[in-house]
């Protein structure tokens, strides 16, 4: 389970890194799409992990 958690954090880092990379190349549409497409599942994932930690 610890590995899965590390993998999830890694996914957040990948998304953030990709968004920043596309912004730095002035590819705002691709960066926005990556942000918009990942914000909801990312938020739900974070909420689910916080609930798990509270348990």
């Amino acid at each position: 389970m610890k590995i899965t958690e590390i993998y999830i954090y890694l996914m957040y880092l990948i998304v953030i890194f990709c968004i920043i990379s596309f912004i730095s190349k002035e590819q705002y549409i691709i960066a926005s799409l990556l942000f918009l497409g990942n914000v909801l599942p990312g938020y739900a994932m974070a909420t689910s992990m916080m609930e798990k930690n509270e348990d």
């Binding site: 999830i8 996914m11 596309f22 549409i29 799409l33 497409g37 990942n38 599942p41 689910s48």
Partner: protein, 197 residues
């Protein structure tokens, strides 16, 4: 326990980040970047082999995936094929980027919409989502309309040996690439990110 359903969805949408490949330099550590596609695919297939044959436990698998190739392998195969064929100058970069992002976001959206509002809404919302992504990236209405319709049709059949994760990438990009070669078709922007960096 981590919510496996949300975990699966998040994995799917993060797959859109594969498009970072187009920002990679031509050579990484002295090796041509296309070889990394092959290495990545071999790693994915090895993990899947271990899961199926050696009972490796991976979070987020569906029950019916116990004895068949999992969705992540199909998706990775589709993406690796697109990237590989882009390197061979078969697929244009614009279509490759748009299709990878479209497949990563539209498939989970259809799944969620199907569950919450029914299949008609699922197909409708999927159509809108894929149309918007194609239109925003390619910017040509002709390709956005056809690409989104093909993507939704590709998602429908449930075939054991040709998963929708692969079909939603490969079928639309093949159709759009062929169309772009036709005389009657509008011009397609080939490179969005300034070609091979």
């Amino acid at each position: 326990m981590i919510n496996e359903h949300i975990y699966r969805r998040f994995n799917h949408t993060v797959a859109a980040c594969f498009v970072i490949y187009f920002l990679f330099p031509e050579y990484i550590l002295g090796i041509q970047r296309e070889y990394y596609i092959l290495i990545f695919w071999i790693i994915i297939v090895t993990v899947e082999y271990l899961r199926l044959k050696q009972d490796l436990k991976i979070l987020g698998m569906r029950d019916y995936e116990n004895n068949r190739i999992a969705g992540f392998v199909w998706f990775a195969t589709g993406t690796c094929l697109i990237l590989g064929l882009y390197e061979l100058d078969i697929f244009p970069q614009s279509l490759a980027i748009a299709t990878i992002i479209m497949a990563a976001f539209t498939d989970p959206l259809i799944g969620e919409a199907n569950k919450k509002f029914g299949e008609l809404w699922g197909a409708g919302l999927g159509l809108v989502c894929s149309f918007l992504i194609y239109q925003l990236i390619i910017g040509v209405l002709f390709y956005a309309i056809i690409g989104s319709i093909i993507a939704i049709i590709s998602e429908r059949p449930k075939i054991k040996w040709f998963d929708d994760d692969l079909a939603m990438q490969i079928i639309p990009i093949i159709v759009l690439t062929i169309l772009s070669l036709m005389e009657f078709s509008p011009d397609l922007p080939q490179e969005i990110l300034g070609g091979k960096l």
